[in-house]
Amino acid sequence: MPLPDRGRLREYAVKGGHLAARQVASTPEQRRARRLAGEAPPEPGDGPSVAILTPRDWTAHVQWEAMIAQALRLRGARVEFLTCGGGLEVCDRANTWEGPPMPCTSCTRYVEDSVDAHGFDRTSLRDGWERDDPGAWDELDEVSLAALRDVVGDDGLPYGRLTEIPVKWFLMRASSHDDPLAPSTWRAFLRSARRIAAGVEAALDRIRPDVVLLCNGLFLFEAVTWELCRRRGIDVVTYERGFIKETLVFRRGAPACLTELHDLWPRFADAALTPVEEARLDDYLDARRHGRRTIDRYWDDARFDAPERRGSGRLVTLFTNLTWDSAVIGKERAYPSIQAWIVAAVEAFAARPDHELVIRLHPAEVKLPGKWTREPMADVLRKHFPTLPANVRVVEPEDPTSSYPLMEASDLGLVFTSTTGLELALAGVPVIVAGETHYRGKGFTVDVSTPEEFVAALDAALDDPGQFAPDPQVARRYANLFFFAAPVPSPGVEEHVPGLARITVEHLDELAPGRHPGVDRICDGILHGGDFLAPVVAPVVGGAPSRSGRRGVPVAVGTR
């Protein structure tokens, strides 16, 4: 077992220090939170009531939510937190490599201590389900795995459907029929979901919020809470990390994690980028190419080797996703699964030996510590093709060869829902999209909906890729919306070490109305139904005026 490198050891040491400080509620962010709480208005406001669901000790999320709460309180909102309280059989705080048992003691302690440090009231869901415990749900033992997705509780909640994505995420694989862990895990999630529902019902009865803020929208606590809010007609706002570090994406009534921008795109599709926006996008794409400013960094030592062309046919690259990513589950379009699509692509190239297919397996399959996939795409390929066709080759997930030279050398790209499809288009490479991804239908990809359409588009593109060449300007406008305009700079919190958070606000008035455009956007969206887009700003000096006049430059977090 090799020792971790020096950087990783330093990270472990810092985390060890934080872990110790957590035991006495004295992490740096908790100490800073206490100081900020001392500057908060003494009396609760009479504005809208906002409930924030904060069930897990995901540090950055806890602090983001708390800082949003501080900003909302400064705007007169009454804010209360819903925490878990611990004691569930299983949840998605951890994954199957880590639990069960779940780390309830440490998780609950951090969440509750942090909320207390920020000076907010909190309600534990556990109090609710313990008062009216729905029990062990023995009837689940009679339900076969294939029917677990259809389980509906006595209360009418579709628990099976609500737990489908959390279970897949927890198990780190999408197919359950051949997973020995799936039946018992799914039943455990169903039992947990029913208890969560009891806790949320009790909390909503008491708080009666006007709006509920929750992370992602598809995870266990969040899916159940959202469903209950929907029934009660309570407004729900979701948020998730943006693709650029220290940014967040917010959506009202839709899961933010899917980064679907259909409603916003018409306002951006025809608006040319300003030179500043052009330069900002180029800077970011260059940083991204080298693994900087992204939320997941896979390589410290990426190799930028140009791919070798073998033969005179077209070079086509296929980029995979994680099978259990929420960007894939339920996003099937041309094929019933991403696995079926990959198999179809290889079969198509077996029948077209003059052309070459390179399959780039997603590095996240192996490169995220503690999140190794249990459903590697390489296994799918091995199962269906004991020997791959001679014109098909695979770049393994652990291969540090950068995908960017591969994209740029390609005549054609194939994606299911991967964001590499957007990047291919930005590089001027035609892309065939088989899944329901966020950039589908935006005018710069070839979107197919059936296997026949896929094969027909593939043949046409192999014959003359130029006919499908994307309009790079359209792709860049979408990239600007996706990477910059829609996301909001995170409100006074940075993730200086993966898994830890640092509050960057010195005084609470930095979050006051008019002081921080990002915070204004967030609060305006939550309290007044705003669209979370950048505020209207004057054209940037030296840049061409924006036709839409909607976009502005991002504001650094914590600046006055």
């Binding site: 077992m1 033992d141 009679e142």
Partner: protein, 333 residues
């Protein structure tokens, strides 16, 4: 013509597992499964009702003697087919499990065939147990725990055989063995009769091992008793290698007593320290597997070794004092 088979599944309070187990057996691609006999030893948790609810070809048969050995004999007697597939409720079966069993039985020339025991942990500790129990260092010589090539072996997990092969040696021993010793002891008798036992990794199933320290301790302590009961019955052992944990316990106890008598604390601590050092190295290697923490692997390894060794000596004690072995579990599995 496809050979019909009967699957015999002993159960006792298996509510948590029975639905998934039967689902995997009912999903077999083998077209000639005549029946799945759920031979139940008096479950109180609704196992029988859950099994019966599946309907044909599942049939629930009572097992008044409770134990798995008796269940197998009841099942074999009740079976309509000549070929018996032994099953376990804590196991999920690959869709081609039965067809591979029949294929290997018919073409290998062996009398008993089976696949490796592939443990799957459902908890953090369970994953450590799975790692330990599928490692030669954790489990000793049972190749069905870790072999990945087809080969003749001493014993296999579960087992598929023709009915008469087992009945001609008197079936499973219900009366003299410590419970849970029945499979290995039967295979021992079969080998002594010149029968061949074949392990084939293409016969795939996944087994849920014990998930807590207490349950693992009880299981391995019982395995030690099982080995002693086999020794008691045959006055010899199928293999001497499982005696390593017993030797370790005896050695540690001997040095401990000697050290205490000589007032040499180092002598008392030496075997424990040596064990921790050796087992620690093994645990670090096992922790290469995803989701296996080295401290849990060390704990599981220690439980397997020490419980087994102590159980064996407890069994030897029973042999020497004439106290009978427990032919049925005192309280659950």
């Amino acid at each position: 013509m496809t050979t019909p088979v009967s699957i015999v599944l002993p159960t006792l309070d298996e509510r948590e597992h029975i639905t998934d187990c039967l689902d995997s057996l009912l999903a077999q691609d083998y077209p000639a499964i005549a029946e799945i006999l759920v031979v139940d030893g008096g479950s109180n948790d609704g196992t029988r009702d859950l099994a019966a609810r599946h309907g044909d070809p599942v049939r629930v048969v009572p097992n008044p003697k409770v134990t798995a050995a008796a269940a197998m004999n009841v099942g074999i007697a009740a079976a309509r087919s000549d070929v018996i597939v032994r099953a376990d409720a804590h196991t999920l079966y690959a869709p081609d499990f039965v067809s591979r069993c029949v294929e290997v039985l018919e073409h290998s020339g062996a009398d008993v065939v089976g696949g490796p025991m592939r443990p799957v942990g459902t908890t953090a500790y369970g994953r450590a147990v799975a790692a330990v129990t599928s490692s030669p260092a954790g489990i000793g010589p049972g190749r069905f725990h870790y072999a990945d090539e087809a080969q003749d072996v001493d014993t296999v997990y579960l087992g598929t055989y023709r009915k008469d092969v087992v009945t001609e040696v008197g079936g499973y021993d219900e009366d003299t063995l410590q419970w849970a010793a029945e499979d290995q002891e039967l295979n021992y008798r079969l080998r002594r009769r010149g029968r061949r036992i074949r392990l084939d990794p293409s016969i795939r199933s996944e087994y849920f091992p014990r998930q807590t320290v207490r349950a693992l301790w009880r299981q391995y302590y019982n395995y030690g008793l099982c080995k002693a009961s086999t020794l008691n019955k045959h006055r010899r052992l199928p293999s001497w290698r499982p005696l390593a944990p017993a030797a370790m316990v005896a050695g540690a106890a001997g040095l401990g007593v000697a050290g205490a008598a000589a007032r040499r604390p180092l002598l008392v601590a030496a075997p424990v320290l040596a064990y921790v050092a050796g087992a620690g190295v093994v645990a670090l290697r096992l922790a290469d597997r995803p989701g296996v923490a080295p401290h849990r692997a060390l704990g599981a390894l220690s439980v397997c070794h020490w419980a087994y060794g102590l159980g064996f000596w407890a069994g030897v004690g029973r042999m020497l004092t004439g106290r009978p072995f427990d032919t049925r579990p005192r309280k659950g599995r």
